[in-house]
């Protein structure tokens, strides 16, 4: 697969401005006249795809990535050259297509198998059209290009439909549903929550965190956080508490270690104060700031 992931999942956005001119209302103008914008690559407008296929090296990967696959690329080539899709000059199209594929290969872009498969198909169609055929066969034999043309047209109409779908108002993006409060006087039912809901909430947080990347949501030992909470609870009221009383050796070494880690973490976060009057004297803990009540 080619940049399979990359090509498949290329965002819709850049494409609006870029390669989809065949479907924009102004497509005739774009394709016919030079000077209209063909593509915007990294903010720079390309007025026309030169026939020699020169693309600034930086832009090439982005440019090629915007193709959703070989059919998309073929459609682009056909529409760009204003070729009649019902009478495709196979030699010219195959040549141009191979040039693109070669470009991708030279740029060390991961090339999807689909692109190579299409190259083989194009060459096969081309050669079948060159072969002389017995007169008798010619009558009812289908044009070797027919199947390809059918696929290209089918894909193009789906491509257009996808854009129209995307333009429809969508719940949550263009319109919203109402959230009027249902006032309940007595016997209010409370929402039920299960651990699965917590996972769902956490997952959506992680997803958003990756999206915005403003902050990191990292994994941390849960048990440490739990002991941090329980120690803070113990210290509530602001009294000094004996260090040793926080440990319950009866519960095993692991618990002692985790308690100690929790303690260190609380100190690091300046949540508690640790005091000792002299070496080997008892250690006391206290909330860094006792509640003011």
């Amino acid at each position: 697969m080619i940049g399979a992931a990359a090509a498949n999942d290329a965002p819709l956005e850049p494409v609006h401005g870029a390669l989809n001119f065949p479907m924009s209302p102004a497509r005739a103008r774009v394709a016919g006249a030079s000077g209209a914008r063909v593509a915007t690559v990294r903010g720079e407008a390309f007025l026309e795809m030169p026939l020699d296929l020169y693309i600034p090296p930086d832009a090439l990967e982005v440019f090629l990535d915007t193709f959703e696959g070989p059919l998309d690329l073929l459609l682009y080539l056909i529409r760009k050259a204003s070729i009649d899709i019902l009478d495709i000059p196979m030699a010219r199209l195959t040549e141009q297509y191979l040039e693109y594929v070669e470009l991708m290969r030279r740029r060390n872009l991961e090339l999807a198998a689909e692109y190579l498969l299409m190259a083989a198909l194009l060459m096969e169609i081309k050669s079948r059209m060159l072969l002389p055929r017995p007169r008798a066969l010619r009558e009812d034999e289908e044009d070797p290009r027919a199947e390809l043309v059918r696929r290209l047209m089918e894909y193009e109409s789906i491509k257009l439909a996808a854009h129209k779908l995307d333009a429809l108002p969508v719940l949550g993006r263009d319109f919203f549903t109402l959230e009027v409060w249902l006032e309940q006087v007595a016997g209010q039912r409370l929402p039920q929550v299960c651990t699965r809901d917590l996972i769902a909430a956490w997952q959506s947080l992680l997803m958003r965190a990756r999206m915005t990347q403003h902050h990191k949501v990292t994994r941390e030992e849960l048990s440490v956080r739990e002991f941090m909470s329980s120690i803070l609870r113990r210290l509530q009221g602001g009294q000094f508490t004996d260090f040793n009383s926080l440990f319950e050796p009866g519960k095993g070494v692991a618990v002692v270690v985790v308690s100690f880690l929790a303690l260190l973490e609380l100190v690091r976060e300046s949540l508690i104060e640790v005091t000792q009057s002299e070496p080997y004297a008892p250690i006391y803990l206290k909330l860094a700031h006792a509640q003011s009540e």
Binding site: P11, E68, A146, V149, E154, Y155, I158, A162, V180, L182
Partner: protein
Amino acid sequence: MLNPNEAKTVLEAALLVAQEPLALADLRRLFEDDLGADTLRRLLDELRLDWQGRGVELVNLASGWRFQTRPEYRQYLERLSHDKPPRYSRAVMETLAIIAYRQPVTRGDIEDIRGVTVSTNVIKSLEARGWIDAIGYRDVPGRPALYATTKTFLDDLGLRSLQELPPLEQIGSTLELAPHIPPDEKPLAAAATAAPAAAAD
């Protein structure tokens, strides 16, 4: 028994509070089936008119009636919500279009039309959104799942049925020719007739 005006008030309150579209049957339950479906429909139409010109409209969707904001007010309401809604990739939108217009289809069908492999994530994300689901299996080796769009898909796009989707357009054979081709002409048929005349280049 409520008079029509009182019934309309109850109806409005129910639709304002409901979290999901309400079907006529739900709404009849509201009046313990005291109200005929015709009366109900008339009241709903009145209610729809009452709300004209406001920021919120009453719409009739695939799964029932619902109040929703008008898209024109998006620019204001966006200022209140922090979470920007997703925009789907081309892969997702094209897959959705194929399922919407060609359903029921298998993943293989989708790949045939798009000419590339369809990643599992694309299908999964559409399923997770509740817009598509597997409605059966095709009886061929591997028994691939057949996908179709759901009522939620129609509801979320503000549609009552698939027929309200934008019509699938056939594309002109060339850009120059496009304006002259009558819309009802079938390019596919044209391809077939054009074939014998086509010479190798």
